[in-house]
Amino acid sequence: MLRNYITTAWRNLVNKKFYSAINIIGLTIGLAVGMLILIWVKDELSYDKFNTRVDEIYKVNASIGSGATKQVWGGAPAPVAFFALKEVPGVVNAARVITSYDYGTFRYKDKLLKEDYGKLAYVDDAFFTMFDYKLLKGNAKQPFPNDQSVIITESAAKRYFGDADPIGKTITGDSKDPYTVSGVLVDFPANSSISGDMLFSMNVKKKQYNGKGYWKSMDEDWGNYYTQTFLQVRPDASTKAIGDKLTKIHMAHQQGIKPTDGVFMLQPLADIHLYKPDGSQAGMQIVKVFSIVAVLILLIACINYINLSTARAMLRAKEVSVRKIIGADRKHLFIQFIMETVLCFAIALLLAFSLIYAVMPVYNNIAGKQMHFDLLNANVWQVIALTIIVTLVASSIYPAILLSSFKPISALKGKISGAGNATFRKVLVVCQFAFSIGLIIGTLIINRQLNYIQSKQLGYDREHIFSVEMHGMQDHYEAIRAGLLTQREVLGVTTGDNSVVNSGSTTGDTDWDGKAPDVSFLIHPFNIDKDFISLFKIKFVAGAGFTGSKSDTAHFILNETAVKLAGIKDPIGKRFKLHDLNGIIIGIVKDFHFASLKQAIEPSIFAYRPTSWQMYVKTTGKDAPAAIKAVGKYWQQYNANFPYEYNFLDDVYNNMYKTEQQTGTLFNIFACIAIFISCLGLFGLATYTAQVKIKEIGIRKVLGASVANITTMLSKDFLVLVVIAIVIASPIAWFAMNNWLQEYVYRVDLHWWIMAIAGGVAILIALATISFQAIKAALTNPVKSLRSE
């Protein structure tokens, strides 16, 4: 019996090559893309969950300020961990991670290697017992035998020592500080929020407090939120109570602190990757969007299959009737249809697997990830099982019921009406196109926003400017600057300690006449030389810039937002205090975007400093290589111990939106695929319709209808469906995309014509798809088609 079902299913598949190909191609692409997206989603959701204690570990975040200027930072002051362990009930363990910027290079024998910023960190010993990061070599209980110990990852060890045993070997940081390798760490997993190449003992950081500064020791420094503090808490402990207790301890220890500055809250380790410190969605939004896209693509593919197999069920009425007449029960027909679906799926699945393996490298490249497709993974099979069940239910049960319900004799004589059935298919086509149009609209808006980011007037000029860390050059800046300016390819040179593209630091340590005592005011400080503002073409609205004179050290320049939020009237000449420096305001610059467009422009302040650690060089597109070479000469002279590195601000800027660019690219691809699969289905349906209406077309032609008449007749019905889909999809897509845009403070407007373009594109594509079949049918000789009865 089973053999008979499989034979019939197979022969049906082979005999109807056209429909089988459409079905299998659609399903293959749908399954492959659906699974690829879900692999991405799974990867995003897997971050940090490899830690066995993931449910007990929390990161301490800090809320600063209140009302409109309230910010939540992902960092905490160093004493938080210290006091949490000592005084807060429920806290079992604590580990801090502090990114180190102390070294740029390390030397082993004659091998000098650069270590990227952010790849070095100080960690507490508990780091190795709290998290699941495994030490291949070394002692997790006592990871750093002394302060000159370093633990490096496997891949870093490979870079420095090749295959030799790294333990006991000494590397030298920036040609001055020797560190001996005391442990080798398995590389941080790709789905770990914490990563790095080298870990140093927290004691090294502690020793940097020499007791003479404002903050006497690390565990008394409540003013700098520079640690990532992780607490392991008892499963029954209240995280709210722990946060409140920490806040209370903070208020008791830091003199003069405002009760709203430094309010601590705990964020679950599992949430760090996808949620911002304030609990709002970060990557989670994309995860949700992509999950929906995956489901939509799978649905579109399933709808194709359902539509084509139900449509063709009518063409197969004869076969089914004969089977009924000679004794087939509903059960038999039912199993037969299911067998056909299963067979079709099995083939599509095999192809989909091959496709996934084939595109995985490209996909990883676009997504910026290292994902693997594992056939033995239970998740993969969950996706497959779900897809198959949905499609099976809809595409076999429906035709089975439909076919077993009609009268076999009438069916044999071709007297069956598929009216109700056609409505069902129409609804599905509308759904399919609504999904596709929704995706087109989404794609258009995402691309517009990305273009907007690219081309937005940011209030400064970053074109052909590259930055270089000065190191040893800093002491000779004036001479270097003068030398560079004599070169034709160098248009300008300046120095500053903060990036115009993406300013990292903020301070609350400010004062001015009339400042309300209980208001916290956060400002981004830039220490710059006299050329900075003109080089970046930042515009003045009042006053003037630095001139390089001695008096500039007591001068400040504010941006418009700073003046507005501080509430200073007629600011030029007014007193302003930054940290310990009391000075006067000499200029106001027009607001410029020194952070991502997702953020509103915040207050910023420029202070004068003749040289800083970073130099900016402006050149032209054509002369850039020569300018880089010119700077490189000085680098060789003063920084021979460091590999020469420079960054164009355009690249830095684009990097800031890398995730958006990646999302945009993926979205483009997914939308194209969705439309392709939809059209595949439409093409199949159009073919079917032409086939069913062949007699009608013949009669009409005999009666004098032109090819154009016939084509219109066949296309009209489908186009109506696409138009309905546009009407349904537009408002939903509008709403969804409007929501997405809210993430950006600076964003494009939604125009009605975006919907019109999306609809127009859908109609054009649909028309192209249908008209091929329609014209073909219209051109058929009526004598032929009428004889086919």
Binding site: N4, N12, R323, I326, I409
Partner: protein, 235 residues
């Protein structure tokens, strides 16, 4: 009332059978209080102009359709109000069909087409092979067993269709213009085959337009407007 001429057993007895076809505006009477009987082992031909209700009658007799009113007793069982499942069950064990357009399944070979009814009645595989070969042999199309219907002539296709109709050893064969698509030589062959089957004890009811074919039967029932008007008994 039309009486069956073989009184040793009555297979079919229908009384006051009615069937209407309704569309939104028109009601057509297909069968108008039709009564008739068919005895076991009889060969009956049903004739009449297009639209007289022949096919409707055949569908009801074949339990593919149910009457709107009246009684249909098949082998002493009242089946007029049987549900679809019970009718299907009775049908697949007792009735074989032969159609004008053969209605073979294109995707299946000759052998597989004939085997299908046995599969649906749950006959074991070994038994199926034996029975299919037996009947193919009898119909003299054994040499075509692995061919597909498209590869056969009309006459051969109808032999396969008859083989399929009889493989389950039905008590009744319903034939709907079995020679309608065949030339006279092939048509005569098919009529001979049906006559042979009848002589071996199978009851046959055949709808036909052909006076020639009708002469193979024992009795002709002529229908007009859903009623039996004339009965000819062949000698």
């Amino acid at each position: 009332m039309l009486q069956g001429m073989f009184q040793e057993g009555q297979m079919i007895k229908i009384t006051n059978l009615e069937k209407f076809y309704r569309t939104e505006e028109v009601e057509t009477i297909a069968l108008n209080k039709l009564s008739m009987e068919v005895g076991t082992g009889e060969f009956v031909a049903i004739m009449g102009p297009s639209g007289c209700g022949k096919s409707t009658l055949l569908n009801i007799l074949g339990m593919l359709d149910d009457p709107d009113d009246g009684s249909y007793v098949f082998n002493d069982i009242e089946v007029a109000h049987f549900n679809e499942r019970k009718r299907a069950d009775l049908r697949k064990h007792n009735i074989g069909f032969v159609f004008q357009s053969f209605n073979l399944i294109d995707e299946l070979t000759v052998f597989e087409n004939v085997e299908l009814p046995l599969i649906y009645t749950g006959v074991p595989a070994a038994e199926r092979v034996k029975r299919v070969e037996e009947v193919l042999d009898k119909m003299q199309i054994m040499h075509r067993r692995n061919h597909y219907p498209q590869q056969l002539s009309g006459g051969q296709q109808q032999r396969v269709a008859i083989a399929r109709a009889v493989v389950n050893k039905p008590k009744l064969i319903l034939a709907d213009e079995p020679t309608g698509n065949l030339d006279s030589t092939n048509g005569n062959d098919v009529m001979e085959l049906l006559t042979d089957l009848n002589e071996q004890g199978t009851t046959i009811i055949m709808v036909t337009h052909s006076e020639h074919d009708a002469r193979y039967s024992h009795r002709i029932i002529r229908l007009l407007d859903g009623q039996a008007v004339v009965e000819n008994i062949m000698v």
